[in-house]
Structures are given as C-alpha cells and as structure tokens.
C-alpha cells in the first residue's frame, strides 16, 4: 500500500499516466479531509448504486400493489418499512425505482446543458466583439425565461412525459454555465500562456478546446453539481404538477402529488418521497461545496 | 533605549507533512534607525515583518521569547490593544498599493479614518491628511484627497498608501518591498520621503527587500536572512566586507553596468547554511 501511495505522490513522475493519477490522488486527499463533502459524495454514490441495483434491492413491485391487504400501511410495518400508498404499493420499492428517474434527469441535464454552456461561454469570451455580443444576448434571452414556466409551455406543446421535461429543463439550464464560462475565459484569454500558445501557431479551436476549456471546466462542474438540487426540485415540481413522469412511474415529485390528498391522515405517503428529495438535494449541495474547495483554481494553495 | 526587541522569533505553518518552520529563531533590536531585512523569496523576511505587527496569516503560529515594542509586551496583547497600537504607533506599507487601498473610498477619507476613529476632530484630521499628502510629494494634494485609488497612477497610489500609513505619525514603520512595483526613478522619490521621516521624526523603519544593492545605499543596518534564519548582520556601509558566503554570493551574482563577467557567478547553496 505504501508503495502505491509513494508512486502516486512522487515529485518526479515517470510517465503521463503517473502524473495524471498522482494529480487526481492529491485532489482526492484534499477532498477526503472535508467530512461534509465526503457525506455528500456518499449520498450521491448511494443514489447511483440504488439506481443500478434497483431490481435486487426493492422488496416489492413498484408499480402494482395489493389493494385488498396492503393499502396505506404506516411505516415500520413488517415487510413495508416505509409504509404503503393508497394503491397498496410499497413506498420503499417505489423510492428505489424512482432513483433511476431522478438520476436519469440529473445525468441527461448535465450532459446536455454543460457542453452547450461551455461551448457558448468560451467561444463568446475568447473571440469577443460581435461574436460575444450575439452569443451573450441569446444567453440573456434564454436566461429571461422563468424555468418552470418555460418547461410548462414546452411540456404543454409536446405533451407530458419525463423526456420532454428533461429537454425543457436542459434548455433553461445552460445560460448560467455560459455566463460562468465566459467570465472565466475573459480572465484567461489575455494570460501569457495563451499568448505563448498563439505564438506557436495554434488555431483558435485548439486554444479554446485544449487550453481554455480545461480551466473553465472545474468551476462549471462545481456550478452544475450545486445546481443539481435545483434540477431535481424542478423535475419533482413538474412531476407534482402532473407534467413530468406519468403514473404509474414512481417519480418522487409525482409521489408527493399522489400523497397530497390525504396528507393529514396518511402523512408518510407524501413525506417519504419528500425526504428522499431532501436528502439527495443536500447530497449534491454538500458535494458541490466540497468540489469547490478542492478544484477552484482561485483557491489559495 | 531600543524601540523594538525581538528574541527567538519562530513562525510555523502546519502542512500535510507536518509543521513547517518558516522563521527559526530570529533576534534583533531596532532603534530609531533604518534596518533592512534582506533575503530571497521563502527566506521568511516578510513573515518576520508581519509577525511583529501580529499579522501572521492563519493557520500560522508565531512564538517568541521576547517581542516588545517600546516596553509593551506584544505577545499577550488583546485584540483591542492591538488595534489601538497598529492604527497609531506602528504601521505597515505593502508591496502593491492596489490591494491595500479601499477602491470605493476616496483617498482623503481613508487618510482621515485612522485619525477620526481615535478621536481627532474632523477638521483637524483633514488638515493633517492634506499635510501628509504634501509631505509625500503629491503635486496637487486637494485633488488627490478627493480622488479614488483607481484614478491615481502606480507611483501616486504607492505614495498615497505611504501617506495613509504615516498620517498617524507612527513610531515604527514596517515597509515590505514598498518600492519593488515602482519604476526606479519614482522608487528613489519614495525612499527620500521615508528617509526624511526617520531623520525628522525619529521613526524606526524596518525595510524588507530582496534588493541588496538598493538596501546598502539606503539603510543603516542590514540583516541577511536565509531559510528562516539571520545568517549575517552588518552595517550597510560594510556590505562589501560581508563574511557569509550567502551574502557574498548574493552580491556577486548581480550584473553590473561596469563589469564584464560572462558567465555570471552563481550561488552554490550549502546545506550547512540552513542548519
């Protein structure tokens, strides 16, 4: 073990791979000292594992319940630890399967919105002038749309469903990343190492892709992680309004909506998915804060 | 009587591999004179200056067997007494004026602040602020008084900051590379101002610098620091008689207009110097 550690922390790495791994290991060591961030990471990892192994973890069928025997059982009932809902379905199983939907929303939004934001922001920042003006005005226009309302309009036009909800959220999610990437690019653009690269005859594309994007990446990743909680809440909000995932899909927001009707007598039906949303949002926020501490290039070494 | 006494000053910073001592047992006394602390980056010279003012950055720890300013023990000073002392009797000039002047407050107001917080009437404070701007060779003190820091050039900004640090007429000024960011011609003007304050008001000056040549022509005494220790203490006029190989090496490796030495002698660091 010590030898691997020494190899990773070596001041004189002997290969590209060792240098990269060593760098990642140092970041990891930094990250590990932050207990809260580590808790956030654990929550997110647990969410991922839950989504992957849902069929093995869930004790019951998430979609079909026994209306005669297991309707609205309270939490801590034998075999139904988080209780059942009005259709007699096990809430724990539904939450476990619901994590797949939540994770899919989060992952797809991140995959769609982050590259768009990075591309628009770095291009605008690097070229400046009219390119900057045009791109940033478009960004401003999109930024002016209220997220939920645009998603509502979009879903209303294309029909309800989780896919449309994801597209709608992605469309409204990228402008903040573009702004951030542009601001970072403006500070990097005139630095000496970019000038040196220009002096080697590098094309603009190469400079943006190999030199500017890697530097903007960390702050954008941090921002995306911190936004995840908001994205989950928006998706849940759409689900709650009946415009996201459609029944009987076990989406957490839709589950809260289902439990709303009998909140007073059977509180757990709405409270359990609420807790799940709360814990996962918190996990992403803690993780984001931790990432900011270790990745932020402006942080004092 | 000496103004400042420092005995066995040590500063440590915790790191992943254990505590690192950046200043390791520095001793000196300062009278009403110009004392230079010279060294290369990482020698601990700036940390020494900050520790005297109780400004060791977190999570650093400064300890000393003796750290007294004009009879006051600085080691056990309360936060309140520190503020009183720093505003009025000791001051510090930093390298870059941009980081030390408040960008959203006119220069004059910043100059008056240390005076008015300690009970000087406003009109009196303004008079003294204007006087001080004149003393640092501002051509139009009234204009500078009303100006914001960004409206001043680098040299003017630096002089404005010196004025701010001196307006309360401190007994001790610690200047950390006060002129390194300035052009040579302006640098000398700023030094003349400091020089006059030492001569006229009997101020004690600690001048922290990397520039041996400048220091030898400006200061009375020189402490040469290397790896957290004072390796040599000399009268500035005797710098060419330096005994320690590090001091000699530092002096030799500077290019001179009148000399033709190719290649330049370089400094071979001896591990024993740090011991």
């Amino acid at each position: 073990m010590t030898t691997t550690r020494d190899w990773l922390l070596s001041d004189r790495p002997a290969s590209r791979r060792q240098a990269k791994l060593g760098q990642s290991y140092r970041t990891w060591l930094d990250f590990r000292t932050n207990a809260l961030a580590f808790l956030g990471l654990l929550i997110v990892v647990a969410l991922v594992l839950m989504a992957i192994f849902a069929p093995w973890l869930a004790p019951h069928d998430p979609l079909v319940g026994d209306l005669n025997h297991t309707r609205l059982l309270p939490p801590l009932t034998e075999g139904y630890w988080l209780g059942t809902d009005d259709q007699g379905r096990d809430i724990l199983s539904r939450l476990i399967y619901g994590s797949r939907i939540t994770l899919a929303v989060v992952a797809l939004v991140a995959v769609i919105a982050t590259p768009v934001g990075l591309l628009v922001g770095t291009t605008a920042g690097y070229f400046g002038g009219w390119v900057d003006t045009v791109l940033m005005r478009i960004t401003d226009i999109v930024l002016a749309f209220p997220k939920l309302i645009l998603a509502l309009a979009f879903v209303a036009a294309l029909g309800p469903g989780i896919e449309n909800a994801i597209i709608a959220i992605s469309i409204t999610a990228w402008p903040p990343y573009a702004r951030l990437a542009r601001a970072e690019t403006l500070t990097i653009r005139n630095s000496d190492f970019i000038a040196a690269t220009k002096l080697q005859g590098a094309s603009s594309l190469r400079i943006i892709w190999k030199h500017i994007v890697p530097l903007c990446m960390s702050s954008v990743i941090i921002r995306v992680t911190l936004d995840m909680a908001g994205i989950i809440l928006t998706a849940a909000g759409l689900g709650f309004l009946g415009l996201g995932a459609q029944p009987p899909q076990p989406e957490w927001g839709a589950m809260i909506a289902g439990g709303r009707n009998f909140l007073v007598d059977y509180w757990w039906v709405a409270a359990m998915p609420g807790m799940a949303i709360f814990i996962v949002s918190l996990g992403f926020n803690l993780l984001g804060d931790g990432l900011r501490d270790v990745l932020d290039p402006k942080r004092q070494k | 009587m000496s103004l400042l006494e420092v005995e066995n000053l040590r500063i440590t910073f915790p790191t992943r591999t254990g505590p690192a001592e950046v200043v390791r047992g520095v001793n000196f006394t300062l009278g009403h004179e110009r004392l230079a602390i010279v060294g290369e980056s990482g020698s601990g010279k700036s940390q020494t200056g900050r520790a005297i003012l109780g400004l060791t950055p977190q999570p650093g720890q400064a300890t000393a067997d003796r750290l007294s300013f004009d009879g006051t023990d600085l080691r056990s000073l309360s936060a309140r007494n520190w503020r009183r002392l720093r505003g009025t009797r000791m001051s510090m000039v930093m390298q870059d004026p941009k980081f030390s002047l408040n960008p959203v407050m006119p220069v004059g107001k910043q100059l008056m602040e240390p005076l008015t917080t300690h009970g000087t009437p406003k009109r009196e404070a303004k008079r003294r602020a204007l006087e001080m701007l004149e003393a640092v060779q501002m051509r139009d003190p009234e204009r500078v008084f009303r100006a914001y820091p960004h409206e001043l050039s680098g040299g003017m900004g630096q002089r404005a900051m010196i004025a701010m640090m001196l307006v309360s007429e401190p007994d001790l000024l610690i200047a950390d590379e006060p002129t390194s960011a300035l052009d040579v011609t302006i640098q000398i003007e700023v030094l003349r101002i400091l020089d006059r304050l030492v001569a006229d008001r009997g101020m004690g000056l600690i001048f922290i610098s990397h520039d041996l040549r400048l220091v030898s022509s400006f200061c009375d005494r020189v402490l040469v620091m290397y790896a957290g220790r004072v390796v040599e203490e000399l009268n500035a006029a005797d710098l060419h008689k330096a005994q320690h190989p590090y001091t000699q090496g530092l002096l030799n490796c500077l290019p001179q207009i009148d000399e033709d030495r190719h290649p330049l002698p370089t400094l071979d660091r001896d591990a024993a110097w740090a011991g």
């Binding site: 001041d11 004189r12 790495p13 002997a14 290969s15 590209r16 060792q18 240098a19 760098q23 630095s191 000496d192 190492f193 000038a195 040196a196 690269t197 220009k198 002096l199 080697q200 005859g201 590098a202 190469r206 190999k210 030199h211 890697p214 530097l215 290039p297 070494k301 | 290369e40 980056s41 680098g154 052009d183 040579v184 011609t185 640098q187 000398i188 030094l191 003349r192 020089d195 990397h210 520039d211 041996l212 040549r213 400048l214 030898s216 022509s217 400006f218 090496g249 530092l250 490796c253 500077l254 290019p255 001179q256 207009i257 009148d258 190719h262 290649p263 330049l264 002698p265 370089t266 400094l267």
Partner: protein, 250 residues
C-alpha cells in the same frame, strides 16, 4: 535581420485611444543581442508584442529579412520567432504537465521525433528528464522560466524575444537564467531582442540598446556608451543615476 520602421501601436478602447508606441525604429542584426530599456508605460513590451502580431499596429513596418511580415502571421513566422514572457507563474498552463507544454508546439507545427526533441530540450535548459511529467506548481520560479525557455527553443527559432525574462526571479536565480540564455545564444547563434527595466541586466546581455520613454525612442546606445556614461539625453542620465542606488538628494 529584423527591422522595425517607424512603428506605431495604439489601443482603442472605445472612449480613448492610447498611443502606446509612437514611431519607433531599430534594426537588429543576425546573431546580435539587442536591448530595449524603459520604465512602465514606455511601450517596450508592446514593441515585442507588435512584432509577434499580438498588438494593433497602426503605422510603420516590421521587416524580417527585408520582407514585411504578413498579418496575421504565418506558421512559418512562428518557427523563426519565439518569445519568453516575464512572469513564469503566468506563462505556463496550470493544468498541463511540462511534457504537454513542450509537445504542444511540436504537434502544432507537425515536427517529427517528438520524444527525443522534448528530452533534448529539457537537457539543453539544464532541467533533465526528471521534470518531464511534473506540473508547473511542482516547480520553482527559476525552473518554470527554464521550461518557458525550452518551449521557445523547441521549434528551433532564429530570433527569441525576451520580455523581462528575469524580473520576477530572485537575484541568484536571475544569474542562472541569464547564463543559460547567453550559453544558448552562443551555441546556436540565436538573435535576441530583450526588454527590461534593469539597465545592468541589459548591459550584461546586449551589445546595443534602445531607451524608450512614453512610447518614444529616446536614444540608441552601445554597451560601451553605457559603460562610459555617454548618454545624450537627460532621461537616460536620470535612469543611469537611479540604477546606481539610493541618493539622498537629486
């Protein structure tokens, strides 16, 4: 080899126009080391950037081997002219290893034998192979500046523009880097144009120098002129006097 004729550079930031360089001419011979001295705002660094096509030239001509330089500069220009920047902490990409810093120009300019060239360049600047896969933050200021020199040399240029290459370094490190630059010049017959605020550094490194003040060329001197204090203008005299150290009176 490099000829600057009546160069003018002005920056237009919308409201005001700043004339950073106002008609500067000089001529650098092959194998020569030419210095430009001035204080901040003299436009000395802007001249170097204008040569590289990184500053808006509003007048005059820049000739390389008698031919005006095309705008924008061609890849061929970058193979012949390279630059070393002032601040070694700002001139290396913080997330790139030394290896990728040095292989970048080779892959842009499609050089062969990249591995050997990188190894050779590291040896040439006295760093050695142990540094190849380190990140800039694992290096000291002097080591970083050696990497910057290696990066400039790896394309085998004929002219190197040096923008205050040692002013951010400690005195002992400055001596090492200056020695390195001198050795490389004599080994490879390089031509230097060096900008500095330090007259002593320029007189050590350069045979001829130009004094600049507020965008104007004040006067051109040889090293011998400088040593004999044969300055024709008050400004140069003042600079010479100031660089000798502190004096209590004018």
């Amino acid at each position: 080899m490099l000829k600057i004729e009546n160069l003018e550079v002005s920056f237009d930031n919308g409201e005001t126009v700043v004339n950073a360089v106002r008609g500067v001419s000089f001529d650098v011979k092959q194998g020569e080391s030419y210095g430009i001295v001035g204080e901040s705002g003299s436009g000395k660094s802007t001249v170097l950037r204008a040569i590289c096509g990184m500053a808006p030239t509003t007048g005059g001509r820049i000739l390389l081997d008698g031919k005006p330089l095309p705008d924008p500069r061609t890849p061929d220009f970058y193979r012949r002219v390279q630059m070393v920047f002032q601040d070694p902490y700002a001139s290396l990409h913080p997330r790139h290893t030394i290896d990728s810093v040095l292989s970048e120009p080779l892959s842009i300019q499609r050089f062969d034998r990249r591995d050997q060239r990188i190894a050779q360049a590291l040896d040439d600047v006295g760093l050695g192979q142990g540094f190849r896969f380190r990140y800039p933050h694992q290096l000291s200021g002097g080591q970083r500046q050696r990497v910057a020199v290696a990066r400039a040399l790896i394309l085998e240029p004929q002219i190197i523009l040096l923008d205050e290459p040692t002013s951010a370094l400690d005195a002992s490190i400055q001596a090492e880097v200056l020695n390195l630059l001198e050795r490389l010049r004599s080994e490879r017959g390089l031509t230097y144009v060096m900008v500095s605020h330090d007259l002593a550094v320029i007189s050590h490194m350069c045979e001829r120098l130009l004094v600049m003040e507020q965008g104007l060329a004040v006067e051109e001197l040889t090293r011998a002129d400088l040593r004999a204090r044969r300055a024709r203008t008050d400004y140069t005299t003042k600079l010479l006097k100031a660089s000798a150290g502190y004096t209590a009176t004018e």
